[in-house]
Protein backbone atom coordinates (compact mmCIF):
# COMPACT_ATOMS: atom_id res chain seq x y z
CA UNK A 1 0.00 0.00 0.00
CA UNK A 2 1.17 3.51 -0.86
CA UNK A 3 1.68 5.54 2.29
CA UNK A 4 2.07 9.27 2.23
CA UNK A 5 4.90 9.22 4.77
CA UNK A 6 6.94 6.25 5.81
CA UNK A 7 9.72 6.12 8.39
CA UNK A 8 11.43 2.74 8.37
CA UNK A 9 14.21 1.80 10.74
CA UNK A 10 15.16 5.42 11.42
CA UNK A 11 17.99 6.11 13.83
CA UNK A 12 19.74 9.41 14.00
CA UNK A 13 22.70 10.65 15.95
CA UNK A 14 24.08 14.17 16.05
CA UNK A 15 27.74 14.85 16.30
CA UNK A 16 28.60 17.42 18.92
CA UNK A 17 31.38 19.94 18.39
CA UNK A 18 33.75 17.81 20.45
CA UNK A 19 33.11 14.83 18.16
CA UNK A 20 30.94 13.01 20.68
CA UNK A 21 27.82 11.40 19.23
CA UNK A 22 24.34 11.90 20.65
CA UNK A 23 21.77 9.30 19.70
CA UNK A 24 18.56 11.27 19.26
CA UNK A 25 16.32 8.70 17.59
CA UNK A 26 16.54 4.95 17.84
CA UNK A 27 14.80 2.67 15.35
CA UNK A 28 11.66 4.66 14.66
CA UNK A 29 9.03 3.13 12.40
CA UNK A 30 5.68 4.58 11.41
CA UNK A 31 3.55 5.52 8.46
CA UNK A 32 1.09 8.33 7.78
CA UNK A 33 -1.71 8.07 5.25
CA UNK A 34 -2.66 10.81 2.87
CA UNK A 35 -4.55 13.69 4.50
CA UNK A 36 -4.23 12.15 7.92
CA UNK A 37 -3.63 14.45 10.90
CA UNK A 38 -0.98 12.87 13.11
CA UNK A 39 0.31 14.36 16.34
CA UNK A 40 3.59 13.46 18.01
CA UNK A 41 3.96 13.84 21.76
CA UNK A 42 6.92 13.10 23.95
CA UNK A 43 9.14 14.53 26.65
CA UNK A 44 11.49 17.40 25.96
CA UNK A 45 14.62 16.44 24.06
CA UNK A 46 13.27 13.11 22.84
CA UNK A 47 13.83 13.89 19.19
CA UNK A 48 10.55 15.40 18.01
CA UNK A 49 12.19 18.24 16.12
CA UNK A 50 14.61 15.71 14.68
CA UNK A 51 11.60 13.94 13.14
CA UNK A 52 10.62 17.22 11.52
CA UNK A 53 14.10 17.85 10.11
CA UNK A 54 14.22 14.32 8.72
CA UNK A 55 10.82 14.53 7.05
CA UNK A 56 11.56 17.97 5.62
CA UNK A 57 14.84 16.69 4.19
CA UNK A 58 16.94 19.19 6.13
CA UNK A 59 19.01 16.30 7.50
CA UNK A 60 19.44 12.70 6.38
CA UNK A 61 19.10 9.88 8.90
CA UNK A 62 22.16 8.02 10.16
CA UNK A 63 20.24 4.83 9.52
CA UNK A 64 17.01 3.89 7.78
CA UNK A 65 14.93 5.55 5.10
CA UNK A 66 12.30 8.25 5.08
CA UNK A 67 9.90 8.01 2.16
CA UNK A 68 7.21 10.28 0.83
CA UNK A 69 4.88 8.48 -1.58
CA UNK A 70 7.47 5.72 -1.92
CA UNK A 71 10.18 8.20 -2.86
CA UNK A 72 13.22 8.35 -0.66
CA UNK A 73 13.63 11.80 0.90
CA UNK A 74 17.16 13.00 0.20
CA UNK A 75 16.67 16.76 0.39
CA UNK A 76 14.04 19.45 0.88
CA UNK A 77 10.92 18.97 -1.24
CA UNK A 78 8.47 21.38 -2.71
CA UNK A 79 5.43 19.49 -1.43
CA UNK A 80 6.42 19.86 2.23
CA UNK A 81 5.62 23.01 4.21
CA UNK A 82 7.14 23.76 7.60
CA UNK A 83 5.78 25.78 10.50
CA UNK A 84 8.38 26.41 13.16
CA UNK A 85 7.99 26.73 16.88
CA UNK A 86 8.70 30.45 16.66
CA UNK A 87 7.04 32.38 13.82
CA UNK A 88 10.46 33.02 12.17
CA UNK A 89 9.25 36.09 10.31
CA UNK A 90 11.71 38.40 8.62
CA UNK A 91 11.44 41.72 10.49
CA UNK A 92 12.42 43.79 7.45
CA UNK A 93 9.45 42.59 5.38
CA UNK A 94 5.79 43.37 5.91
CA UNK A 95 3.26 40.60 6.40
CA UNK A 96 2.42 39.94 2.76
CA UNK A 97 6.07 39.98 1.71
CA UNK A 98 6.81 37.52 4.48
CA UNK A 99 4.11 35.25 3.15
CA UNK A 100 5.52 35.65 -0.36
CA UNK A 101 9.12 35.18 0.76
CA UNK A 102 9.33 31.48 -0.18
CA UNK A 103 8.41 32.36 -3.78
CA UNK A 104 10.90 35.20 -3.94
CA UNK A 105 13.64 33.16 -2.31
CA UNK A 106 13.06 30.13 -4.47
CA UNK A 107 12.13 31.55 -7.86
CA UNK A 108 13.52 35.07 -7.69
CA UNK A 109 10.35 36.84 -8.75
CA UNK A 110 6.80 37.14 -7.57
CA UNK A 111 3.95 37.02 -10.07
CA UNK A 112 0.59 38.71 -9.78
CA UNK A 113 -1.08 35.34 -9.28
CA UNK A 114 1.20 34.63 -6.32
CA UNK A 115 0.17 37.96 -4.85
CA UNK A 116 -3.49 37.18 -5.24
CA UNK A 117 -2.99 33.75 -3.75
CA UNK A 118 -1.16 35.24 -0.76
CA UNK A 119 -3.94 37.75 -0.25
CA UNK A 120 -6.58 35.00 -0.42
CA UNK A 121 -4.68 32.97 2.18
CA UNK A 122 -4.34 36.00 4.43
CA UNK A 123 -8.09 36.49 4.19
CA UNK A 124 -8.57 32.87 5.12
CA UNK A 125 -6.37 33.25 8.19
CA UNK A 126 -8.05 36.53 9.13
CA UNK A 127 -5.03 38.73 8.48
CA UNK A 128 -6.03 40.66 5.36
CA UNK A 129 -6.21 43.94 7.29
CA UNK A 130 -2.61 43.48 8.41
CA UNK A 131 -1.06 42.62 5.03
CA UNK A 132 1.02 45.78 5.01
CA UNK A 133 1.94 45.86 8.67
CA UNK A 134 5.37 44.95 9.98
CA UNK A 135 5.61 41.70 11.97
CA UNK A 136 6.54 43.49 15.21
CA UNK A 137 3.21 45.31 15.10
CA UNK A 138 1.38 41.97 15.41
CA UNK A 139 0.58 39.90 18.49
CA UNK A 140 2.30 36.55 18.99
CA UNK A 141 -0.75 34.64 17.80
CA UNK A 142 -1.05 36.75 14.66
CA UNK A 143 2.63 36.31 13.93
CA UNK A 144 2.26 32.56 14.13
CA UNK A 145 -0.73 32.81 11.77
CA UNK A 146 1.55 34.56 9.30
CA UNK A 147 4.03 31.69 9.70
CA UNK A 148 1.27 29.18 8.92
CA UNK A 149 0.05 31.25 5.96
CA UNK A 150 3.59 31.31 4.58
CA UNK A 151 3.84 27.53 4.87
CA UNK A 152 0.58 27.19 2.92
CA UNK A 153 1.58 29.46 0.03
CA UNK A 154 3.22 26.85 -2.18
CA UNK A 155 0.22 24.63 -1.35
CA UNK A 156 2.22 21.76 0.11
CA UNK A 157 0.67 18.34 0.30
CA UNK A 158 2.37 17.72 3.62
CA UNK A 159 2.45 20.21 6.46
CA UNK A 160 4.85 19.71 9.35
CA UNK A 161 4.36 21.82 12.43
CA UNK A 162 6.82 21.92 15.31
CA UNK A 163 5.02 22.96 18.49
CA UNK A 164 3.45 25.81 16.53
CA UNK A 165 1.32 27.17 19.36
CA UNK A 166 3.57 26.55 22.33
CA UNK A 167 4.54 30.20 22.71
CA UNK A 168 0.91 31.34 22.89
CA UNK A 169 -1.40 31.81 25.84
CA UNK A 170 -3.97 29.08 26.52
CA UNK A 171 -6.97 30.87 24.99
CA UNK A 172 -5.23 31.93 21.79
CA UNK A 173 -3.77 28.49 21.55
CA UNK A 174 -7.16 26.78 21.65
CA UNK A 175 -8.59 29.18 19.09
CA UNK A 176 -5.62 28.68 16.75
CA UNK A 177 -6.06 24.93 17.08
CA UNK A 178 -9.67 25.07 15.95
CA UNK A 179 -8.78 27.49 13.14
CA UNK A 180 -6.13 25.07 11.97
CA UNK A 181 -8.69 22.28 11.83
CA UNK A 182 -10.98 24.46 9.71
CA UNK A 183 -8.12 25.20 7.32
CA UNK A 184 -7.28 21.52 7.17
CA UNK A 185 -10.89 20.66 6.31
CA UNK A 186 -11.01 23.27 3.56
CA UNK A 187 -7.64 22.30 2.11
CA UNK A 188 -6.97 18.70 3.09
CA UNK A 189 -3.32 17.99 3.80
CA UNK A 190 -1.25 15.38 5.49
CA UNK A 191 -0.24 16.93 8.80
CA UNK A 192 2.52 15.98 11.20
CA UNK A 193 1.87 18.04 14.31
CA UNK A 194 4.49 18.06 17.04
CA UNK A 195 3.38 19.12 20.49
CA UNK A 196 4.07 18.51 24.13
CA UNK A 197 0.47 19.11 25.09
CA UNK A 198 -1.49 15.89 25.42
CA UNK A 199 -4.91 17.54 25.27
CA UNK A 200 -3.88 19.49 22.17
CA UNK A 201 -2.79 16.26 20.51
CA UNK A 202 -6.07 14.48 21.34
CA UNK A 203 -8.17 17.45 20.30
CA UNK A 204 -6.53 17.82 16.89
CA UNK A 205 -5.29 14.51 15.64
CA UNK A 206 -6.59 11.36 13.99
CA UNK A 207 -3.73 9.51 15.55
CA UNK A 208 -1.14 10.24 18.24
CA UNK A 209 2.39 8.88 18.22
CA UNK A 210 3.94 8.71 21.68
CA UNK A 211 7.71 8.91 22.00
CA UNK A 212 9.98 7.83 24.81
CA UNK A 213 12.79 9.82 26.40
CA UNK A 214 16.01 10.15 24.46
CA UNK A 215 17.04 8.17 22.52
CA UNK A 216 13.51 8.64 21.20
CA UNK A 217 11.58 5.72 19.93
CA UNK A 218 7.87 5.15 19.43
CA UNK A 219 6.21 3.60 22.45
CA UNK A 220 2.64 3.87 21.29
CA UNK A 221 0.41 4.77 18.42
CA UNK A 222 -3.13 5.63 19.43
CA UNK A 223 -6.01 6.22 17.05
CA UNK A 224 -8.26 8.99 18.33
CA UNK A 225 -11.77 7.98 17.52
CA UNK A 226 -13.51 11.26 18.30
CA UNK A 227 -16.12 12.71 15.94
CA UNK A 228 -15.23 15.55 13.57
CA UNK A 229 -15.52 18.45 13.25
CA UNK A 230 -13.90 18.91 16.61
CA UNK A 231 -14.93 21.87 18.73
CA UNK A 232 -15.10 23.00 22.33
CA UNK A 233 -17.76 20.29 22.81
CA UNK A 234 -15.13 17.67 22.05
CA UNK A 235 -13.49 18.59 25.35
CA UNK A 236 -16.66 17.39 27.13
CA UNK A 237 -16.75 14.11 25.24
CA UNK A 238 -16.26 11.17 27.65
CA UNK A 239 -13.76 9.57 25.29
CA UNK A 240 -11.66 12.75 25.34
CA UNK A 241 -10.88 12.21 29.03
CA UNK A 242 -10.16 8.58 28.37
CA UNK A 243 -7.61 9.32 25.63
CA UNK A 244 -5.79 11.99 27.57
CA UNK A 245 -5.57 9.65 30.57
CA UNK A 246 -4.16 6.80 28.51
CA UNK A 247 -1.59 9.07 26.92
CA UNK A 248 -0.60 10.61 30.22
CA UNK A 249 -0.11 7.16 31.70
CA UNK A 250 2.17 6.23 28.83
CA UNK A 251 4.30 9.29 29.20
CA UNK A 252 4.59 8.89 32.97
CA UNK A 253 5.50 5.24 32.51
CA UNK A 254 8.31 6.02 30.14
CA UNK A 255 9.42 8.76 32.51
CA UNK A 256 9.59 6.34 35.37
CA UNK A 257 11.49 3.76 33.36
CA UNK A 258 13.99 6.37 32.39
CA UNK A 259 14.35 7.68 35.95
Amino acid sequence: MRHCVEFSGISHSYEKDNGEKVLALNNVNFTIEQHEFVAVVGPSGCGKSTLLRLLSGLITPSQGTVRIYDQQVDGPREDVGIVFQKPVLLPWLNVIDNVLFPVKHKYGRITQSHREQAMALLTMTGLEAFAHHRPDELSGGMQQRVGITRALLLDPDILIMDEPFSALDALTREQMGFDLLVLWREKPKTVLFITHSISEAVLQADRVLVMSERPGTLVDNITIDLPRPRSLDTLQHPEFGYYTRVLRDYIYQTDRVAA
Binding site: G57, V80, I82, F84, K86, L90, H105, K106
Partner: protein, 223 residues
Protein backbone atom coordinates in the same frame (compact mmCIF):
# COMPACT_ATOMS: atom_id res chain seq x y z
CA UNK B 1 52.47 76.18 32.59
CA UNK B 2 49.09 75.71 30.95
CA UNK B 3 48.07 77.56 27.85
CA UNK B 4 44.31 77.42 27.67
CA UNK B 5 42.63 80.13 25.65
CA UNK B 6 39.54 81.88 26.93
CA UNK B 7 36.31 81.11 25.06
CA UNK B 8 36.19 84.70 23.87
CA UNK B 9 39.68 84.28 22.33
CA UNK B 10 38.51 81.18 20.51
CA UNK B 11 35.43 82.96 19.19
CA UNK B 12 37.57 85.84 18.05
CA UNK B 13 40.00 83.53 16.30
CA UNK B 14 37.08 81.83 14.63
CA UNK B 15 35.95 85.09 13.04
CA UNK B 16 39.47 86.19 12.17
CA UNK B 17 39.86 83.33 9.74
CA UNK B 18 37.88 84.02 6.58
CA UNK B 19 34.93 81.76 6.06
CA UNK B 20 36.30 80.76 2.66
CA UNK B 21 39.42 79.38 4.30
CA UNK B 22 37.35 77.51 6.85
CA UNK B 23 35.23 76.07 4.06
CA UNK B 24 38.32 74.94 2.18
CA UNK B 25 39.80 73.14 5.19
CA UNK B 26 36.45 71.71 6.17
CA UNK B 27 35.77 70.37 2.72
CA UNK B 28 39.24 68.83 2.43
CA UNK B 29 38.77 66.87 5.64
CA UNK B 30 35.14 65.89 5.09
CA UNK B 31 35.67 64.78 1.52
CA UNK B 32 38.58 62.50 2.49
CA UNK B 33 36.65 61.17 5.48
CA UNK B 34 33.56 60.42 3.42
CA UNK B 35 35.43 58.89 0.50
CA UNK B 36 37.46 56.73 2.87
CA UNK B 37 34.30 55.75 4.71
CA UNK B 38 32.51 54.73 1.50
CA UNK B 39 35.55 52.86 0.24
CA UNK B 40 35.70 51.11 3.58
CA UNK B 41 32.05 50.03 3.28
CA UNK B 42 32.66 48.80 -0.25
CA UNK B 43 35.52 46.63 0.99
CA UNK B 44 34.32 45.47 4.38
CA UNK B 45 30.75 44.36 3.64
CA UNK B 46 31.71 42.04 0.74
CA UNK B 47 34.63 40.80 2.82
CA UNK B 48 32.27 40.00 5.71
CA UNK B 49 29.94 38.22 3.28
CA UNK B 50 32.80 36.10 1.99
CA UNK B 51 33.95 35.26 5.48
CA UNK B 52 30.45 34.19 6.45
CA UNK B 53 30.25 32.05 3.36
CA UNK B 54 33.57 30.30 3.84
CA UNK B 55 34.91 29.20 7.19
CA UNK B 56 38.29 28.73 5.59
CA UNK B 57 38.43 32.36 4.49
CA UNK B 58 37.24 33.46 7.90
CA UNK B 59 39.98 31.51 9.61
CA UNK B 60 42.68 32.93 7.33
CA UNK B 61 41.47 36.53 7.14
CA UNK B 62 40.43 37.20 10.71
CA UNK B 63 43.90 36.92 12.26
CA UNK B 64 45.23 39.10 9.48
CA UNK B 65 42.58 41.73 10.16
CA UNK B 66 43.39 41.68 13.85
CA UNK B 67 47.07 42.22 13.10
CA UNK B 68 46.25 45.16 10.84
CA UNK B 69 43.88 46.57 13.42
CA UNK B 70 46.33 46.31 16.30
CA UNK B 71 49.11 48.06 14.38
CA UNK B 72 48.82 51.76 15.23
CA UNK B 73 47.73 53.54 12.07
CA UNK B 74 49.60 56.63 13.21
CA UNK B 75 52.78 54.60 12.90
CA UNK B 76 51.97 53.29 9.43
CA UNK B 77 50.87 56.67 8.11
CA UNK B 78 54.35 58.08 7.32
CA UNK B 79 55.26 54.82 5.58
CA UNK B 80 52.15 54.99 3.45
CA UNK B 81 53.03 58.50 2.36
CA UNK B 82 56.46 57.30 1.27
CA UNK B 83 54.94 54.37 -0.59
CA UNK B 84 51.88 56.03 -2.14
CA UNK B 85 53.09 59.61 -2.57
CA UNK B 86 51.56 62.76 -1.16
CA UNK B 87 48.29 62.82 -3.11
CA UNK B 88 44.88 61.71 -1.93
CA UNK B 89 45.68 58.01 -2.16
CA UNK B 90 47.55 57.61 1.16
CA UNK B 91 44.94 59.68 2.99
CA UNK B 92 42.16 57.47 1.67
CA UNK B 93 44.05 54.34 2.61
CA UNK B 94 44.67 55.62 6.13
CA UNK B 95 40.99 56.50 6.62
CA UNK B 96 40.02 53.12 5.28
CA UNK B 97 42.42 51.27 7.55
CA UNK B 98 41.06 53.01 10.60
CA UNK B 99 37.37 52.49 9.76
CA UNK B 100 37.02 49.10 8.25
CA UNK B 101 37.63 46.86 11.25
CA UNK B 102 34.45 47.81 13.15
CA UNK B 103 32.52 47.40 9.91
CA UNK B 104 33.83 43.92 9.14
CA UNK B 105 33.30 42.80 12.72
CA UNK B 106 29.77 44.17 13.04
CA UNK B 107 28.64 42.82 9.66
CA UNK B 108 30.14 39.39 10.31
CA UNK B 109 28.68 39.21 13.81
CA UNK B 110 25.25 40.20 12.55
CA UNK B 111 25.24 37.69 9.71
CA UNK B 112 26.37 34.89 12.01
CA UNK B 113 23.73 35.82 14.59
CA UNK B 114 20.94 34.97 12.12
CA UNK B 115 18.58 32.57 13.93
CA UNK B 116 19.08 28.97 12.77
CA UNK B 117 15.37 28.68 11.95
CA UNK B 118 15.73 31.39 9.30
CA UNK B 119 18.57 29.41 7.77
CA UNK B 120 16.45 26.25 7.90
CA UNK B 121 13.69 28.17 6.14
CA UNK B 122 16.14 29.01 3.37
CA UNK B 123 17.47 25.45 3.15
CA UNK B 124 13.96 24.01 3.08
CA UNK B 125 13.38 26.10 -0.05
CA UNK B 126 16.57 24.72 -1.58
CA UNK B 127 17.87 28.23 -2.07
CA UNK B 128 21.53 28.58 -3.07
CA UNK B 129 23.95 29.93 -0.45
CA UNK B 130 24.31 33.32 -2.12
CA UNK B 131 20.57 33.89 -1.75
CA UNK B 132 20.73 32.85 1.88
CA UNK B 133 23.37 35.51 2.40
CA UNK B 134 21.78 38.29 0.32
CA UNK B 135 18.16 37.77 1.29
CA UNK B 136 18.44 36.57 4.87
CA UNK B 137 21.81 37.04 6.55
CA UNK B 138 22.68 40.48 5.19
CA UNK B 139 19.32 42.11 5.96
CA UNK B 140 19.32 40.40 9.34
CA UNK B 141 22.68 42.06 10.05
CA UNK B 142 21.32 45.57 9.32
CA UNK B 143 21.11 46.77 12.95
CA UNK B 144 24.59 45.38 13.61
CA UNK B 145 25.94 47.05 10.49
CA UNK B 146 24.46 50.38 11.55
CA UNK B 147 26.22 50.17 14.93
CA UNK B 148 29.41 49.57 12.97
CA UNK B 149 28.67 52.49 10.66
CA UNK B 150 28.14 54.83 13.60
CA UNK B 151 31.52 53.91 15.04
CA UNK B 152 33.19 54.02 11.64
CA UNK B 153 31.88 57.45 10.61
CA UNK B 154 33.45 59.13 13.63
CA UNK B 155 36.64 57.14 13.09
CA UNK B 156 36.71 58.34 9.49
CA UNK B 157 37.20 61.92 10.69
CA UNK B 158 39.98 60.73 12.96
CA UNK B 159 41.54 58.88 10.04
CA UNK B 160 41.41 61.94 7.81
CA UNK B 161 42.97 64.11 10.51
CA UNK B 162 45.75 61.63 11.21
CA UNK B 163 46.54 61.58 7.50
CA UNK B 164 46.62 65.36 7.40
CA UNK B 165 49.03 65.48 10.32
CA UNK B 166 51.46 63.49 8.24
CA UNK B 167 51.12 65.06 4.84
CA UNK B 168 48.69 67.69 3.63
CA UNK B 169 48.39 71.35 2.72
CA UNK B 170 44.67 71.50 3.42
CA UNK B 171 42.20 70.24 5.96
CA UNK B 172 41.22 70.87 9.57
CA UNK B 173 43.87 68.48 10.88
CA UNK B 174 46.53 70.28 8.91
CA UNK B 175 45.13 73.58 10.16
CA UNK B 176 45.33 72.47 13.81
CA UNK B 177 48.93 71.45 13.38
CA UNK B 178 49.84 74.55 11.44
CA UNK B 179 48.18 76.87 13.96
CA UNK B 180 49.81 75.13 16.91
CA UNK B 181 53.25 75.38 15.39
CA UNK B 182 52.77 79.15 15.04
CA UNK B 183 51.40 79.19 18.57
CA UNK B 184 47.98 80.35 17.40
CA UNK B 185 46.29 78.28 20.09
CA UNK B 186 42.79 79.87 19.95
CA UNK B 187 42.73 79.22 16.22
CA UNK B 188 43.63 75.56 16.78
CA UNK B 189 40.81 75.28 19.31
CA UNK B 190 38.35 76.78 16.87
CA UNK B 191 39.35 74.09 14.37
CA UNK B 192 38.86 71.44 17.05
CA UNK B 193 35.31 72.60 17.63
CA UNK B 194 34.72 72.34 13.90
CA UNK B 195 36.00 68.77 13.92
CA UNK B 196 33.77 67.79 16.82
CA UNK B 197 30.78 69.40 15.16
CA UNK B 198 31.43 67.63 11.87
CA UNK B 199 31.75 64.27 13.63
CA UNK B 200 28.49 64.84 15.40
CA UNK B 201 26.67 65.88 12.22
CA UNK B 202 27.94 62.86 10.31
CA UNK B 203 26.91 60.58 13.17
CA UNK B 204 23.43 62.10 13.12
CA UNK B 205 23.34 61.64 9.36
CA UNK B 206 23.88 57.89 9.74
CA UNK B 207 21.17 57.79 12.39
CA UNK B 208 18.84 59.65 10.06
CA UNK B 209 19.53 57.26 7.19
CA UNK B 210 18.73 54.34 9.45
CA UNK B 211 15.53 55.97 10.63
CA UNK B 212 14.32 56.84 7.13
CA UNK B 213 15.38 53.73 5.26
CA UNK B 214 15.60 50.98 7.87
CA UNK B 215 13.22 51.97 10.65
CA UNK B 216 12.51 48.32 11.43
CA UNK B 217 16.10 47.87 12.57
CA UNK B 218 15.81 50.44 15.36
CA UNK B 219 15.06 49.15 18.81
CA UNK B 220 12.24 50.86 20.65
CA UNK B 221 14.63 52.99 22.71
CA UNK B 222 16.40 54.26 19.60
CA UNK B 223 13.16 55.63 18.15
Amino acid sequence: MFVLPAPSDIAEAFFQVESQRWAGHLWATVSIALQGFLLSIAISIPMAMMMVRSRFLARTLYPLLIIIQSTPVVAIAPLLIVILGTGEAPRLVITCLITFFPLVVSATTGMLATPPEMIELSRSLKAPVHKEIWQIRLPYATPYIFSGLKVAITLSIIGAVVAEFVAAEQGLGYFVQFSTSYFKIPQAFAALFFLAAVSLILFKLIQWIQKIGFAWSLTKTEL
